[in-house]
């Protein structure tokens, strides 16, 4: 690749650009660093001062959290809810998206449109009806209730995302498999799904994050402390009169850790998702 090289910008321009970007980086990173600082400080006060870097390293806050009566139970709740939501959501979204992408059936357009419309309303708007539904089903205070709500709200977006990706997979591949004697299910399972790994990774991450981070619905539907998810428990540290900032910050770090881990794990696929698609090329 030897195209004409862009001339290096003049120093003032370069410095200006760097200053601009650096200031945005600071604005973005500052609160995060503050949380880190508070988490490692053995106090419950709000961190003040300009220095966002930790000055002391104490694990007291984490120890307190681990020792809290329901912490491990709540962690497990979060994991179960997020994992099952992801598994169910991705599986259903894959099959639905494939149908929308490849088959022509009555109600196809209307279905897609309905999915789109549901995305236009904020989830909180559905809170009361959902509460009623879960109540009728006897699923309030049950993890299954949360899984049900989370999957149904995540699926439309997942379907759209996956359908878009499936649309880019050449039909020739499927027809070729058909000629090779594959059934529709075999084609889906052995050709389409393996080729869609990047898109599925992104979709799974999205589902997982939605379920893992969600607070408002969980706080509304779960009243027993033992059935809380972590975000709901976190909020407990913010009281009416006092806020346990240290515990809150440590909890926030713990909650974001799995999501970050997933990001790193799926990184390769996420990047692949952007560049994949050229099958013939």
């Amino acid at each position: 690749m030897s195209g004409p090289r862009d001339a290096e910008p003049k120093p003032p321009v370069r410095w200006g650009t760097h200053l601009f970007l650096a200031s945005f980086a600071v604005v973005t990173l500052f609160p995060v660093l503050w949380v880190v600082k508070m988490a490692f400080r053995p106090e419950q006060t709000f961190a003040t001062g300009l220095n966002p870097l930790p000055t002391v390293f104490s694990l007291d806050n984490f120890r307190d959290l681990f020792a809290a009566p329901h912490f491990w139970q709540q962690m497990l709740n979060s994991v179960i809810v997020a994992a099952v939501t992801t598994a169910a959501g991705v599986f259903l979204a894959c099959t639905a998206a494939y149908a929308f992408s490849r088959f022509r059936f009555p109600g196809r357009r209307a279905g897609l449109m309905a999915f789109l419309v549901t995305q236009m309303f904020p989830g909180t708007m559905m809170m009361i009806p959902l509460y009623h539904v879960l109540d009728q089903l006897g699923l309030l205070d049950h993890l299954a209730g949360l899984v049900l709500v989370y999957s149904t709200t995540a699926i439309p977006f997942c379907v759209f995302q996956l359908k878009g990706y499936f649309d880019t997979i050449p039909r020739d591949l499927e027809e070729s498999a058909l000629m090779d004697g594959a059934s529709q299910f075999t084609i889906f399972w052995r050709i389409i799904l393996p080729l869609s790994r990047p898109a599925i990774a992104v979709t799974a991450l999205f589902s997982f994050m939605t379920a893992w981070n969600e607070y408002i619905l969980a706080a509304t539907f779960m009243s027993d402390e033992a059935s809380y998810t972590l975000p709901v428990q976190l909020q407990q540290y913010v009281g009416d009169y006092t806020t346990e900032w240290g515990h809150f910050a440590a909890g926030a770090l713990l909650v974001s850790a799995p999501v970050m881990a997933l990001f790193f794990l799926l990184q390769r696929h996420l990047v692949g998702g952007l560049t994949a698609g050229g099958v013939k090329g």
Partner: protein, 352 residues
């Protein structure tokens, strides 16, 4: 291998568009049929109907005497090579070739043996562990053919398999397909828009236009006796010269030319016709010739040159053998042997 019969096979889409009109052909066991025509002529649709990828709207498709209209592709026992190769990107060459055999639940040892022997035959045994993206276009093309061959189907279908290759490779693969067909002896249907591929590969050519079969016949038959002007100009390169004129006695006379009438032609005096002469049948005349033109463009090919002339309101192309060709602007007199003059009705475009 198999005999394939198409009896008035037609394709009509739900929107009413008729892509293929009553297609009739009886393909003998081991025959190589090439469907050729401009894009949108229905050749690919016909192939896909035989494959089972497209439903058949009317008529009957029989393989070895059995009606297969409503059978899914896998029950028809046909294999297809796609223009895009359609190799499974996430599988190695071996897995690509073994995919169909595994679905048939053949023993592992047999799959291994079959894939290896076909790979050897195609010269791709060194590529078996590669993924499609790690191969060149020509190699992918071979794998795509190998995947079809390894299944030992009753009928081979090719959908423009060489269109994505560069010119040199296309030539090479064309010869290879010819050789493969020789050795496999498999009934084959081959779709292309390239008349050279059609001429060189086919036992019989089916020339299509707008969903209608124009002519079915051996390559040289289409070349020597085209049934209409479409076939006449589609087959052969450069195209046949067509000159509008009128029958006068034993000649066709038009603006600036007078060609001898071929023997045994059913034309009446005064009839408006199109006289067709292929470039290779126009030669330099000793005397006045049949027409005189000024040389406009000369295309040297090495062993011959194509000389484009302007004769009055017509343009004609003549093939000049050897290394010497007239210069641009030079006036040349051309004549044609009556045996090589084709005559078509000006109104119906049909051969007279």
């Amino acid at each position: 291998m198999a005999r394939v019969e198409l009896e008035a096979v037609g394709k009509r889409y739900p929107n009413g568009f008729e892509a293929v009109h009553a297609f009739d052909i009886d393909i003998a066991d081991g025959e190589f049929i090439v469907l050729v025509g401009p894009s949108g002529c229905g050749k690919s649709t016909t192939l896909r109907m035989v494959a089972g990828l497209e439903t058949i709207s009317s008529g009957a498709l029989r393989i070895d005497g059995r009606r297969v209209n409503d059978l899914p592709p896998k029950a028809r026992d046909v294999a297809m090579v796609f223009q895009s190769y359609a190799l499974y990107p996430h599988m190695t060459v071996f897995e690509n070739m073994a995919f169909g055999l595994r679905l048939q639940k053949l023993p592992v040892a047999e799959i291994e043996a079959r894939v290896r022997s076909v790979a050897e035959r195609l010269g791709i045994e060194g590529l078996l562990d590669r993924k499609p993206k790690e191969m060149s276009g020509g190699q992918r093309q071979r794998v795509a053919m190998g995947r079809a061959i390894v299944r030992r189907p009753r009928v081979f279908l090719f959908d423009e398999p060489l269109s994505n290759l560069d010119a040199k490779l296309r030539l090479q693969m064309r010869v290879e397909i010819s050789r493969l067909h020789e050795s496999l002896g498999a009934t084959s249907l081959y779709v292309t828009h390239d008349q050279v591929e059609a001429m060189t590969l086919a036992d019989r050519i089916v020339l299509m236009k707008d969903g209608f079969v124009q002519q079915i016949g051996a390559p040289l038959e289409l070349y020597a006796r085209p049934v209409n002007t479409f076939v006449a100009t589609f087959v052969g390169s450069p195209s046949m010269n067509l000159l509008p004129g009128m029958v006068q006695g034993d000649r066709v006379v038009g603006a600036g030319f007078s060609l001898p009438l071929p023997a045994g032609v059913a034309a009446t005096a005064g009839q408006a016709v199109l006289a067709g002469v292929r470039p290779e049948h126009l030669r330099r005349a000793e005397g006045a010739g049949a027409l005189t033109g000024a040389v406009d463009v000369v295309e040297p090919m090495g062993n011959e040159s194509f000389v484009h002339c302007v004769a009055g309101e017509h343009r004609v192309v003549a093939r000049w053998p050897g290394f010497v060709a007239p210069a641009r602007g030079e006036a040349v007199a051309l004549e044609a042997d009556p045996a090589h003059v084709h005559l078509f009705d000006a109104a119906t475009q049909a051969r007279l």
